[in-house]
Symmetry: C2
């Protein structure tokens, strides 16, 4: 098992970030890790595992987020500890992550379809 790779902040690309966040599952994972206001929260697989995603697939998703430079993973005992790299990314691409996470929130909060137009 080779050690986890994390790109240097200067090697993080917009395309890489976009690609990593173009998958609903990864956006959900990342939004969860990044938390509100993009603070450095930690997370584990629990929230997403409930959605019946195979662990090999999840592992790949985490790898994608890691290699895009969006999260940092460190082994803590038997499990993984993931933190967002929002701070670093923000120095290079100011406001980008915040805008994406916010847009994701807007979208998921608007999901419940408005029961037949609430008639003014």
């Amino acid at each position: 098992m080779r050690p986890l790779t994390h790109p240097h902040v200067d090697d993080i690309t917009v395309e890489g970030i976009m690609h990593a966040l173009s998958d609903p599952v990864r956006v959900a994972i990342f939004a969860d890790i990044a938390g509100s206001a993009c603070s450095q929260n930690c997370s584990n697989y629990l929230t997403v595992r409930e959605k019946e995603i195979p662990k090999s697939t999840l592992s790949q998703h985490f790898k994608a987020l890691r290699e895009a430079g969006l999260i940092r993973a460190e082994r803590q005992g038997v499990e993984m500890h993931n933190t967002s790299r929002c701070g670093e990314i923000d120095t290079r691409f100011p406001g980008l992550i915040a805008a994406i996470v916010n847009a994701h929130k807007v979208q998921s909060s608007g999901k419940k379809k408005p029961a037949k137009r609430p008639k003014k």
Copy 2:
């Protein structure tokens, strides 16, 4: 040739936008169409065609941008007229497009490696 499809603004998704803009060519096309400050500029294939991308591939890229809701295409005589849908998208996801286009600018302007730090 079926008529071009454009999603309703309410059907535009963050994932769709992310995916469409996860490709360097499409980001370039879109940045070109959206122009500075995300104004409603038009564009044609010229700028990108120079980069020797086959027209079938370009057509697919434009289709991807269209179906993600990022641009609107209208036939004008023999050629296509593309405009950005920034305004519409901004009502749903405020600041998102601006942040992405800006990040793209930051990245492309930072490509020329800074000649050994300009010393203060």
